[in-house]
Amino acid sequence: MKYVSSIFSILACSLFFAQQQQQTSTAGTFSSEDLIPLDAVTVFSINNISLLKKVSMDELVQYEFMAEVQSELFDGSTQGKTLKESGIDFDQKLNVFYGLNENFEIAGFTFGIKDKKQLFNVFDDFEPAASNIKGVEFYRSYSNYLIIKGNSGIVLRVDPSYEKVSVITDSIWYARGFGYFDDGTSEEDEYEEIDDYGYEIPSNSDIEEAENEVIEEEQIEGEMDETDLLSKNYWEMRDSITVELQSKYMTKICDDLFVKELNLKKQDPKLAAQLLHTSDGIFYLDNSRNFRNSRGLWHFQTLFPELFSDMKDLYTGNVMLGDIELKENSVDIYFEANYGESLGAIYEKLNSTKFDKNVLKYIHESSTGFFTYNINLKEGYNQAYDIIIPILSKEKDPRISSNVLMAELINEFVDTDALFETYKGSMFGSFNGIKKVKTTRIEFIYDENTFEYEEKEIQGEEDMPIFTLGFSTNRSDIPEKILKHFGRMTSRFKNMGSYWMVEDAVFNSVPLYIINKNGLLIFTNDEDLAKNHSDGYGSNALKGKRAKAAKSSKFMYGYFDWGVALSSLPREMFNTRQNEILDAMRGKTGVLELVSSDITKTKTKFNLTYNFDGTYDNSGKYLLDLVNSVYVLSK
């Protein structure tokens, strides 16, 4: 949940700043994008959202998600002020970034500065810090830094990795002759309890831990020379190491940015080119570095350096780039997934298939949302086998070698044709809104004469989202064998002729229906589809523009009518306050459409379009209502 809040904070922060931006961007030779650190892996840069200018600041702060942004950014110190008075130069871009590597995590944003005095009325928690770089000013508030060069600034935070701090602290701790220190983090199922005001509520185990710590510290102090004031307990040492590492990494980042004048824009031509786009916003995500920096792979990197290097090559050039365009009645997002030729060869083979027209029969024309996913798993498997097995075969490690042998034997002995004829890889899914489904509940009925009570089964109805998920197959006989087996084993699997029914399969309460017909294996909780349309919806099936778009979109197509979905969600699902917020979106239309292009050896392109219409003051207000509604639903 914290991650969702952070994403909303960044998104809202971007909207908040961008609301004030002017049509032109970039100022002079040094601009905010020149401060994006090399270690940033994800960048979201806002050029201009002129549509939002029509929304007043007073309206903005009324939104649910803004309360969080206001408090996180300005810590309540700017009550009664607006961003107009913040000293920020809205002629420059706002760039939000995030990065993670094996040493630290970095997050922050860069921006232009118009009036430094006004800026420090907003960032009033920041105190000046010593600077050893000429022309660069440093300010600090706890672990957050504000660094200013010329008319641009960067707010950033660097957190050393927990593992790294642990390794160093433990090493010093053992070297000083102390035993294993259990910091309690290995205890399973520890969850934070948060009260209504956002403060963590200490659980009993936390209190116990704290008490144990005091005891442990007392014991340690006893063991230490009481006159040795330099001796630190485990946690004090950990804090010192964290601060030391923070300082070391900050020095490295600042040296790169201000001494060597290296930044991500300079380092990666793909980002530099993307930043030149005149769209309203751009984004950049370097998946190849995500692969390299993935925490789970560090161990792998140490044990199998050559293999890691080969796999890294496979991921080279894996970068997602995108543009966002805000129009009067739509938001268009264009993004392309770039990759190297080896991975591209696998993706290309995956794409070598024809659209399975049967899926359209099972998508109702009034479906609220659906997707089709069209791949050739057999071709993809063969290509991946040809590329990955030679890489793995080079490795002399006995475990990897035996796994390679196992994969080769399976490939020889298993009838891969039968496997991939059964599960071809293509699939579809649809959401058909909320329907009432029959449920039973128990009520206690009491006798008026004695007040003795007994259970009575009452038939009831509950609102249930209706989903359908289907897979293309050329071997319907194989799933049928499995279903028959379960039918013999348990009475919950029932053969109903044209479909199978599994009782109490969904949340132990409602049945799941399985249709194994027409080259498709379909799972649904839609009784109507199973009972009355096991051969498809006929004349009510998806047709026209959307069917054509699904057929012509290469490996993926998605459609979701947000307006209809929101209106179909029962009001009882939400409390009074949530309903008030969602009412702002109810009755308006909003259609999301995802289209993919052909997969080539180096890239795949996607277009995501959100079209909206209906009664709204202006499209900027509509967008904010949308963001607010999604925020409320995700909370």
């Binding site: 948060i194 659980s203 128990i442 008026e448 009831g460 509950e462």
Partner: protein
């Protein structure tokens, strides 16, 4: 204690239509039977969907086996209490109906056992609510009440939880082996055979006003 709060939380958030029945049967010699039933069958879909999650609103959602384990632990503790016998729990995890029952030699024994378990669960920290006696029997009258809810539970209750609890029902039944002569709670209802008395409310009202269940029930004279 985390599990206790977990169970309480689960009960509260799932309580779209929770039905609770507390049923106390006191014989003339002071012994009797206590039954406590929680019926969540009208929220089965919601419960199963929550149980499918690891955590909700930052709190861990216990698994069925953890709930079973915890309930069995309470049961074992109660079985060991002096003066209690035939301690049983009928837990139906399909419909989510839980029926607890035990026999006691006198109401004080029952009250003491419950207090001891709550105290043990709270690691012997002081709980002022436990100073209150909610059952008293002198052979001619039964005085019933319930302890006040800790303020932090009532104050921190979210609006949506309150709305859900308002839809539930709470039945408090007291039974005897001789007829009831009079009672002092005006909302209480006497059974046709005059051997039982019932107070019906909803769980939310109870959290706000624990006096709702207060009642002194006077019985007819004992036949010699």
């Amino acid at each position: 204690m985390k599990y206790f709060f977990g169970l309480l939380f689960l009960l509260f958030t799932m309580g779209s239509c929770v039905e609770i029945i507390d049923d106390l049967y006191v014989k003339s010699d002071g012994s009797g039977t206590f039954k406590y039933t929680v019926n969540l069958s009208s929220s089965v879909v919601k419960i199963n969907s929550i149980l499918a999650l690891d955590s909700l609103d930052g709190r861990k959602v216990p698994s069925i086996s953890e709930i079973q384990e915890k309930l069995n632990a309470y049961l074992t503790k109660l079985e060991k209490k002096e003066g209690l016998s035939n301690v049983k729990l009928d837990a139906n995890y399909k419909d989510f109906i839980f029926k607890f029952q035990c026999e006691f030699t006198n109401v004080q024994v029952l009250q003491k056992a419950i207090k001891e378990i709550v105290q043990e669960e709270n690691k012997n920290t002081e709980i002022k609510e436990l100073d209150h006696n909610w059952l008293a029997w002198d052979g001619t009258k039964l005085v019933r009440s319930i302890p006040t809810m800790p303020e932090k539970i009532t104050e921190r209750m979210k609006k949506e939880d309150a709305e859900a609890l308002q839809k539930g029902t709470y039945l408090s039944i007291s039974r005897f082996d001789r007829t009831i002569e009079k009672y002092d709670n005006p909302v209480a209802k006497l059974s046709g055979n005059k051997l039982a008395i019932l107070i019906k409310t909803n769980p939310y009202s109870l959290t706000q006003n624990t006096e709702l269940l207060e009642n002194t029930i006077y019985l007819s004279a004992l036949k010699k």
